[in-house]
């Protein structure tokens, strides 16, 4: 009973501490590390959206980068078309990726397990090919460059510019916390419970009267839309959108983040995203073959800590 009570009380405390620690980063961290933390936050949103599929719905997508990339390109195209409002730029990423997820999900979800994994991978690589070859829209491998940072009414009054690293980091943190709260609510909602039932036993859910395909498709579209928001932020942060965003390695890194952090928790993917990004940047400075180390880390987690970092504190 004691560990349970400890857990129940400690989780909000931990989350509040984590949020405050992150929020303080612009106050003390060197500029380079603010940039790294920004990238990690954006990647954390992306990993959370993947966890909705992998952890809650039990759908091992290996093509989630498709929706990261589509969101980034949609945001880039709109921003280059002289729309500079933050909210429309984020929403267009969500909308475009959600729309892309609808047909991809409708086709991929007719399969399951390894076939689902391969189909999502194939669709993502098709979109990558499209981004490379549809040069009139995407400018091919050069990508869309010179994407301006968004504006938010009121910030000018305080003389705050989103071109500066601190304020942009804080913006990403606000978006990440908002999406965390929304996804957490979703996971606890009747819809989220239904997804868990489908993950555990699709056949029984159908026998009980649940149209399970529709629920899985809805989860796929929601996850795609949230990934689209992270893609929008990535486009704003980098100032460009290139086909790399859609490449399968991006999907792979997100899966590693979910597994290393721990699926079915939402906190897990956030931790995992920071571990993966810091490992990537830290290691690549010293070792050329940093992927090898990350791969070894991934294998070690799968073998010895299959429930990820959150599995260290969560007993159930």
């Amino acid at each position: 009973m004691i560990p349970g009570q400890f857990r129940a009380a400690s989780r909000p405390v931990f989350l509040a501490f984590l949020s405050l620690a992150l929020a303080s980063i612009p106050l003390w961290a060197p500029r380079f590390w603010i940039y790294i933390a920004t990238q990690a936050l954006i990647f954390a949103i992306f990993a959370m959206s993947l966890d909705l599929l992998v952890g809650y719905a039990g759908l091992p997508s290996f093509g989630h980068a498709a929706f990261y990339g589509v969101g980034a390109y949609a945001c880039a195209l709109l921003a280059l078309g002289h729309v500079d409002g933050l909210v429309p730029l984020l929403l267009v990423g969500a909308l475009a990726s959600g729309l892309a997820a609808l047909p991809i999900g409708a086709l991929s979800l007719r399969t399951s397990g390894i076939y689902f994994l391969m189909l999502t991978l194939a669709f993502a690589q098709m979109l990558w090919g499209l981004a490379v070859n549809w040069t009139s829209l995407t400018r091919g491998t050069d990508g869309l460059i010179g994407i301006p940072r968004p504006t938010l009414p009121g910030l000018d009054m305080f003389n705050i510019s989103l071109y500066e690293r601190g304020p942009f980091f804080t913006l990403c943190l606000v978006v990440a916390i908002t999406l965390f709260v929304l996804l957490e609510a979703l996971a606890r909602s009747p819809f989220g419970k239904t997804l868990e039932g489908i993950r555990e036993n699709d056949r029984r859910m159908r026998a009980l009267g649940f149209p399970t395909f529709r629920y899985r498709l809805a989860a796929f579209v929601i996850a795609g839309a949230v990934a689209g928001i992270s893609g929008s932020l990535a486009a704003m942060s980098n100032g460009f959108a290139t086909p790399d965003l859609l490449y399968w390695t991006v999907s792979g890194l997100a899966l590693i983040a979910v597994v290393v952090g721990g699926s079915r928790s939402l906190v897990g993917p956030v931790l995992g995203a920071f571990v993966v990004l810091i490992a990537q940047l830290g290691l690549s400075t010293y070792i050329d073959r940093w992927e090898l180390v990350l791969g070894a880390l991934f294998i070690a987690f799968v073998l010895f800590l299959p429930r990820g970092l959150v599995g260290l504190v969560r007993r159930t």
């Binding site: 909602s189 009747p190 026998a207």
Partner: protein, 243 residues
């Protein structure tokens, strides 16, 4: 609700798992379905539930043609079932298992925000009490013993409050005491519920069923009152022949 199948034929390769099977079960009737191993009993239930498409024949629920409806639509028309091998939500708790069955009935699973569902939690509590397993509420279904899983298996189907309930060997592997309590739970079903029960425990079948249908090698060989079926020479031959 009335269940009627006619001319059902299912082939597995060259084998006819079901061969022009007719079955009519009236509203509120309790029907036993027996036969030697491999007679096609589970196949028949799977066709009725919509998991298997027949090569020929039709399934009707209250006169409505359900032959091409997917399982979940049939469930919403009032068809419920249990599985021969327990088909539970392994990593969820017993209470969460039952809660899913409650939500299946009251709908409202398209809500994306947490709801304080007193209706659901109250009913889960009542159901677990009625099934005699309130002490298992917080256990994960996968960690239950076989008998406990069978009881949960039956309770999930009952919770959906079906009008037609298909039971596939509900008593399989239960101890004597567990059998008695499961039987009591089934005998306590509302009179209007139509029941089709496949069971090897013939005592349980004769206790529950008003009529019995016998399948052998995919063919229905007898249909009638328990005593008449028991005395039927073809039934005796099918059973004795298989021993």
């Amino acid at each position: 609700m009335e269940l009627a199948v006619s001319g059902l034929t299912v082939h597995f390769g060259a084998v006819a798992a079901l061969d022009r099977v007719d079955l009519e079960v009236g509203p509120g009737e309790r029907r036993g379905l027996i036969g030697p191993n491999g007679a096609g009993k589970t196949t028949l239930l799977n066709v009725i539930a919509g998991e298997l498409r027949p090569a020929a024949g039709s399934v009707r629920l209250d006169g409505r043609d359900a032959t091409s409806l997917p399982p979940w639509r049939r469930a919403r028309l009032g068809l419920g079932r249990t599985f021969q091998r327990s088909t539970l939500f392994g990593q969820l708790t017993v209470a969460e298992n039952v809660a899913l069955a409650v939500r299946a009935r009251i709908r409202g699973s398209w809500r994306f925000w947490p709801a304080r569902e007193r209706i659901v939690t109250d009913e889960v509590e009542r159901r677990l009490d009625a099934a005699g397993i309130p002490h298992l509420a917080r256990r994960r279904a996968a960690t239950l013993g076989h008998g406990e899983q069978r009881i949960l298996e039956i309770e999930l189907a009952l919770t959906a409050a079906p009008s037609v309930l298909l039971l596939d060997e509900p008593m399989a592997g239960l101890s004597g005491a567990e059998r008695q309590s499961a039987l009591k739970r089934l005998l306590g079903l509302p009179g209007e519920v139509t029941l089709v029960i496949v069971e090897h425990d013939l005592d349980a079948v004769f206790a529950l069923a008003e009529r019995i249908s016998v399948l052998d090698h995919g063919v229905k060989i007898a249909d009638g009152a328990p005593n008449a079926v028991r005395a039927d020479p073809r039934v005796q031959e099918a059973y004795l022949g298989s021993i």
